[in-house]
Amino acid sequence: MKSSILRAGVALACALGLAACGGGDGDQYLTGTIESGVTKDGLVLTNNGGDDLAVPANATGFQFSKRISTDDQFNIQVKSYPSNVKTCTIVNGSARANYYTIAQIRMSCEIKTHKLVIAINGLTTNGLILVNGTDKQTIAANETSREIAPVYEDGAYGITVLQQPTGQTCRVSGGSSGNGSGIMGSTDLVNSVVVTCS
């Protein structure tokens, strides 16, 4: 009799113990660091296909709302990208959870770039050098356009004359600011920036 009460007590204790472990919330937050490339809203991450997490612009990290337990499998994926992002890379985004694995999750996103083609009018001599910051472009006589290094979407550009061509003077105009500079939109920028030489 005594022993059967004890047995029942042990069974109850076991059941309670299991319930405490098995309950929906685990003991660890699933977090990661964002190294670069999230400059706009729109990023949504999922864990095991659910628990959608919207990550705002300029976030340096993320944390899923549902906690997970040690040894739970997690698998973090991108459900939707910010409009200016080409792709994101998640490092160590899939593993069984423990204090080590959940501290190793990193993500970086690659921002889209677009072509920038400068229209050149009236250039008849050599010597013209245009720059977009550190991007240096030497333009030969009679060139009518020049594609420079691609520019990040939503990133700035500003074309200036480093060196005038022999016997001519060139001016830069156009771009979204009108003076040869502006912000790159979501499409290639062709012949919007204009260099006029006379």
Partner: protein
Amino acid sequence: MTFSFARGALALAAMLTLASCGGGKATFPINVTVYNVLYPGLVLSTNGQDVAVNPGTDKTQPVNVVFPNQIEYGQAYDVVPKGQVNLVGGTFPKHQTCAVPQEYPYNLPTSGTAGQLAKIQVYYICSINTYQLAGKVTGLRGTGLVLANGSTALTVAVAPVLDATTSAPTGADVALTMSPVAYGATYGVTVLTQPTGQTCTVSGGANGNGTGIMDDAAEAANGVTNLVIACANNPA
């Protein structure tokens, strides 16, 4: 007789073997690998020895050097750019500064004791020096001025100086600091967004229009500090 001769020979052989073990301590060469050496001038120093590290024909490849004299087991070494004390100063390549790499497995200490590890191997990596690109904004009264150096680095927003009591813009000069520019790189400062009610024009820099090259002259002057962004009210 033959037996004792053999014994004598054996003893002699044993003595010779022992002598070869006991003669002097093991010595260690000090090996150094330096990445991204683009210009000559780097001198590394340890244990009273110097070694020059100059760029190779293929500048993408690291430069390997060994100090002229090996050091003995137990002797301490500390390989630093010559003259460097507590990470300050030192004899670097022209236009460059060198430090211990941050990435594994190259982030090893540059000092230690010979014999701690099987091999003494020190790593350095050099980077191109950057210099300031700075000046002032004059006559600024409107808000919203944003300046860019092409697509390089971040844009810089500049706000007008406001009067302490009336909060009205005073038009006083505002110091301007753009992101630093690497030696040898071009720069070209433009107005990305004009302030409300005003138009600003860029002057200064090596070419007078906010454009130039961070060349030897700019390096000697510790950067470009003569940018002037002059802002004037738009005609009513």
